[in-house]
């Protein structure tokens, strides 16, 4: 993997921020976009723009081919059986909400159980709270181990015959934990429950195979994997999606419309009401090509190396607390500096040109579990280098010095 060659393809990385060359360490929030993706979106608007599934004219066919071609590309990327199982959404959040609103609300009754974990992102927590409140189902949490990981023993104890739905993130955006979602899916199925995998943080970084995971649903976002914002997808097993009712009604999703009754299109279109994000799908297809040209295994390996280098170097900094397991983790490090609020850390790092995230990372229950209000987080992607980590370390040392005279 030639990092310099990869970096050349990300124009945004070649700028100064606050007088320093930019070090972008916030890819878990959103990734940067390579030229290939930017060009694909630009070309689409310059040459092919038209609405899909209705144009008799040439541009209409081009737009439809591009949109449906992206669906096929994504199907292959995550190894779904058929494109009927790939529903384009705005992102992970909408994908999860679709399952919660359409599937879970129809299936859950009072006393049934929905199982999640305390490390879930708000987008994989609140929809289930809502389902529980609306149906009388009970929301149950698989407890976390000391280091933030979950044990299969606990999974076995939490999932019961009453469980209808299990929803777990593949990779934690705070702890970097990689959850055993395949094993959890098997346990869920043994109890007759369905399993959703929140793939927001895994799809950009790991080779994903939904058939191998045998999950029933898989949600993902494009913008964290080099594609534009506003495009994502829900994978669902065909037989489940067929049972499900659409939750958005209108144009594009209908078959026959009568004055009082209507019928829906076939999968996957019955879930895609309204004009879709066509340019976003085009960008997603280009992003998949780009990632595949580098190889998901290579990306995964590169990030793991970078993370272990970062962990090694961060230990040198006295007063720095790292959250999450020491090893077997994804490409991000969440931390706090003693006596300096993470916001202040992020501001000083930004003044040094180093972009990190500070806050609760949309994981308030997990923050409470960690017993902090907020943390700082450095997250890596394929374009980051050891030199970026070195800049982070230097900036963290400066932060310590800067706030050295303050102790609260």
């Amino acid at each position: 993997m030639n990092i310099e060659e990869i970096r050349r393809q990300f124009p945004i990385l070649h700028q100064e921020v606050n007088g320093h060359p930019l070090v972008y360490l916030d890819s878990a929030a959103t990734s940067q976009k390579p030229t290939a993706v930017i060009e694909a979106v630009k070309n689409y608007y310059e040459w092919d723009n038209a609405n899909v599934h209705r144009g008799v004219h040439t541009l209409g066919s081009r737009a439809t081919d591009a949109y449906e071609g992206a669906r096929e590309k994504l199907r292959r990327f995550i190894n779904a059986r058929s494109t009927e199982e790939i529903i384009f959404t705005r992102g992970t959040t909408t994908a999860i909400n679709l399952v919660a609103s359409s599937y879970a609300r129809a299936v859950c009754k009072e006393g049934d159980e929905i199982v999640i974990t305390p490390m879930e992102h708000h987008s994989n927590l609140i929809p289930w709270q809502q389902v529980a409140q609306a149906t009388g189902a009970v929301l149950k949490y698989i407890p976390l181990q000391q280091d933030g990981s979950i044990s299969l023993e606990d999974v076995e104890k939490t999932i019961t015959e009453k469980t209808k739905m299990v929803s777990v993130m593949y990779v934690s955006n705070v702890l970097g934990v990689v959850n055993p979602v395949k094993e959890i899916a098997a346990i869920a199925h043994r109890h007759g429950a369905k399993m959703l995998v929140d793939g927001a943080q895994s799809t950009p970084h790991l080779k994903v195979d939904v058939q191998d995971l045998d999950c029933d649903f898989y949600a993902l976002s494009g913008h964290k994997m080099c594609a534009p914002t506003g495009i994502g997808a829900l994978y669902g097993k065909k037989e489940l999606l067929q049972e499900m009712e659409p939750i958005e009604f209108g144009g594009e999703m209908i078959d026959h419309v009568g004055l009082y009754n209507s019928t829906w299109k076939d999968l996957p279109w019955k879930f895609e009401g309204g004009t879709p994000i066509i340019a976003g799908a085009v960008g997603l297809a280009a992003a998949i090509d780009f990632l595949e040209s580098i190889g998901m295994e290579n990306i995964d390996r590169h990030e793991k190396q970078l993370t272990s280098y970062a962990l090694e170097r961060m230990v040198e900094i006295e007063g720095l607390t790292i959250y999450g397991p020491g090893q077997d983790r994804a490409g991000l490090v969440t931390f706090n500096l003693d006596d300096v609020h993470p916001h202040d850390v992020a501001t000083v790092l930004d003044a040094e040109g180093v972009a990190v995230r500070a806050g609760h990372h949309c994981c308030q229950p997990l923050m409470r579990w960690l017993n902090v209000t907020a943390t700082a987080r450095a997250s890596f992607y394929l374009y980051n280098t050891e030199a970026d980590v070195d800049r982070l370390i230097t900036a963290l040392i400066k932060t310590k010095e800067y706030f050295g005279h303050v102790s609260t």
Binding site: N18, D344, A351, M367, T373, A374, K398, V406
Partner: protein, 143 residues
């Protein structure tokens, strides 16, 4: 780092290190407002004792960064003895300060927060306590 010094002035760091009016009143002795900054998880509880339309005293507890806590420290000091109208005007003036307007405060320390307007991401930190003040004033008026 000189740009940072605009943000982290000595006065601010002093309020952060030695917050004024940190604490709570006994139950039933004050109006109480809880406010979160949902973007970062910071929270503040502001308590105000209001008598005859005047703020007799204000105290706060909470978790936050240096900017939000020092702002709370200054605000609770500055509103002491003010009428609710004067306190509200002060909150308005503080909004102006955050927009880059040059505003003078009787309680001069507050002016040290003017540098925050160059750090748009941090304005929410600085205004948290002042938003709590606005709510407290509203609540006091309806009681």
């Amino acid at each position: 780092m000189s740009q940072l010094d605009d943000l982290y002035r000595r006065v601010i760091m002093d309020h952060y290190k030695n917050p004024r009016n940190r604490g709570t009143f006994d139950e039933g002795e004050a109006v109480s407002i809880n406010l979160n900054n949902p973007t970062c998880g910071d929270k503040i509880q502001l308590q105000m004792q209001v008598e005859d339309g005047r703020v007799k005293a204000a105290k706060f507890v909470g978790e936050g960064c240096s900017i939000s806590l020092s702002s709370a420290s200054m605000m609770t000091d500055a509103v002491k003895g003010k009428t609710l109208e004067e306190a509200l005007e002060m909150a308005e003036n503080f909004s102006g300060l955050m927009k880059g307007e040059s505003v003078e405060f009787e309680y001069e320390d507050i002016e040290s927060l003017s540098g925050v307007n160059k750090f748009p991401a941090r304005i929410k930190c600085a205004t948290l306590a002042w938003n709590a003040l606005r709510k407290g004033i509203e609540q006091s008026k309806t009681q």
